[in-house]
Amino acid sequence: MSGSSFDTLELDALKELMNVGFGRAAATLSELMDLHVVLSVPRVELVPIGELASYVANEVDDPKSFNVVEQFFLGKFEGSSFLLLPEEEGRRLVEMLAGEDADADSPLDSLERDTIIEIGNIIIGACVSKVAELLGDVVTYRPPRFATGALDRELLERYVKPGPGMALVMKTLFRFERRDVFGLLFLVTTDSGLGWLKRAVSSWLESLS
């Protein structure tokens, strides 16, 4: 089944589902882990895979220097998740968590990198798993990968192979409450999983009515 068969109603339903899932993720993060994260109402769009890189780059004001945490999630709900953090924000994130028990000897850039990966891994896991849960699925994860630099085609295509077909892009803005750290989270599922996703969304809709 092709992704382009998602209609407006279904996209709205998916958006609603993600909103619920992200809300739960944020609540659990704050309740259990003292990570107070605010996630904006997600935006859900179908984007041709070939245009994905430029789509993502267009979503940020200044794509020059970004930290990217990418993690592939596997299940029936399957795809890539990207957490984009402007470089400056990455530093603030480290300041927020640093000093608690980091190795003082490790160079600043590797400390920063690993803090971003760790927190990225947790936020991605929270959001993806809560959405998967609503869809009736359990996902597993590949280890997160990290890149830093300009958000250009070359960087993004390391993670998302260009090809035919459509990708479903779910985007949310997240912000750490009390600390002014924000970034973007993208979930990108490609063609193969869209048929399942469509059915899962419609059964979620039915379960509500």
């Binding site: 993720a25 659990t28 259990l32 882990m33 530093r91 608690e100 028990d101 980091a102 190795d103 490790s106 160079p107 600043l108 850039d109 590797s110 400390l111 990198r113 690993d114 803090t115 990966i117 760790e118 891994n121 947790i122 896991g125 929270a126 798993s129 809560k130 359990v138 996902v139 597993t140 994860y141 280890p143 997160p144």
Partner: protein, 301 residues
């Protein structure tokens, strides 16, 4: 049958494997864990990892354990940040220079009837890989003759220092030191004598520097000391000490003996500086010192 064989794999695999509950209490401890820690399974199971590994990075571990249990996440602890998540001695025959086993760890969910009930922890001993990596990095960053850091390392270190200065408003001082009349020394006493002089000067410098300072071989007979968070006055005082030490330590090599002197230029970070401007001021000061008769310290303004 294969299913019944699989548990044996956990016992012979070359990794540490633990299963813990949401409080970090150990439910399973494989043979590798017993060998690596000296704690037998019977003594480990039922105790928490925090009791078993005092001094472990508890906060980061708890944060990740909670996320594994709550979300079914996987968590990854890289050696670079955590070094040893679970402090334990190095394995027999491990490379020297480590007081603890270097580890790369991962943790993930175990589910019962769809619900996450436990987390598994897998520990990989990466001490040898880290040791190799360090040796390579060391070799790639040093000057073979004097043991001082090389130019490439200097450039990178300066970038880091400026990064720090921009963030915290405290920048480095820089000392550029040049052996006086090195060319004629080389011509008259031979290159090996020249090499000896370079080694000796590097040694004198290293001896005088703080552990946070770094000595680099900047050019032929030119050394550069990066002095983090140092004011101009302190930098000048150090340069003066180096000048007198060098002047009072004649070089003796294969029967030849000569005293030598050094000239230095010192500069200190100020708001708006970049690497070029800081190095430029120290360099200009060195030039002044040379013009003014050598065996001197001058300040870059």
């Amino acid at each position: 049958m294969i299913r019944s064989l699989l548990p044996q794999v956990l016992e012979i695999i070359g990794n540490g494997v633990m299963v813990v509950d949401s409080d970090g209490r150990v439910d399973y401890w494989n043979r590798w864990m017993g060998e690596a820690t000296g704690v037998e399974r019977e003594d480990a199971e039922g105790r928490t990892v925090f009791e078993l590994f005092p001094g472990m990075r508890e906060k980061a571990f708890r944060r990740n354990l909670k996320s594994v249990i709550a979300f079914g996440n996987f968590a990854f602890f890289s050696q670079k940040v955590h070094g040893a998540v679970f402090p334990m001695p190095c394995a027999p025959g491990a490379p020297e220079g480590f007081d603890r086993m270097q580890q790369s760890c991962r943790m993930g969910p175990l589910r019962h009837e769809g619900e996450v009930c436990r987390a598994f922890v897998v520990i990989e001993d990466v001490t040898e890989a880290v040791s190799n990596e360090r040796r390579l990095a060391e070799a790639a960053s040093r000057d073979g003759l004097t043991g001082a850091y090389n130019r490439r390392w200097f450039d990178r270190r300066m970038e880091d220092e400026f990064d720090r200065a921009r963030r915290y408003g405290r920048g480095p001082a820089l000392l550029i030191l040049d052996i006086d009349h090195f060319k004629s020394l080389n011509d008259e006493e031979g290159h090996q004598f020249g090499d000896e002089a370079l080694k000796r000067v590097a040694e004198i410098c290293r001896h005088a520097l703080r552990s946070t300072d770094a000595l680099c071989r900047y050019g032929g007979e030119e050394f550069c000391a990066v002095l983090p968070e140092t004011e101009l006055g302190q930098g000048v005082a150090l340069a003066e000490r180096l000048r007198t030490s060098c002047a009072s330590s004649p070089i003796a090599f294969r029967g030849a003996k000569r005293s030598l002197t050094v000239s230095s230029g010192v500069s200190a970070w100020r708001e708006g500086d970049d690497v070029t401007s800081l190095v430029g001021r120290a360099d200009a000061a060195l030039y002044v010192a040379k013009r003014a008769g050598r065996n001197r310290v001058e300040v870059g303004t």
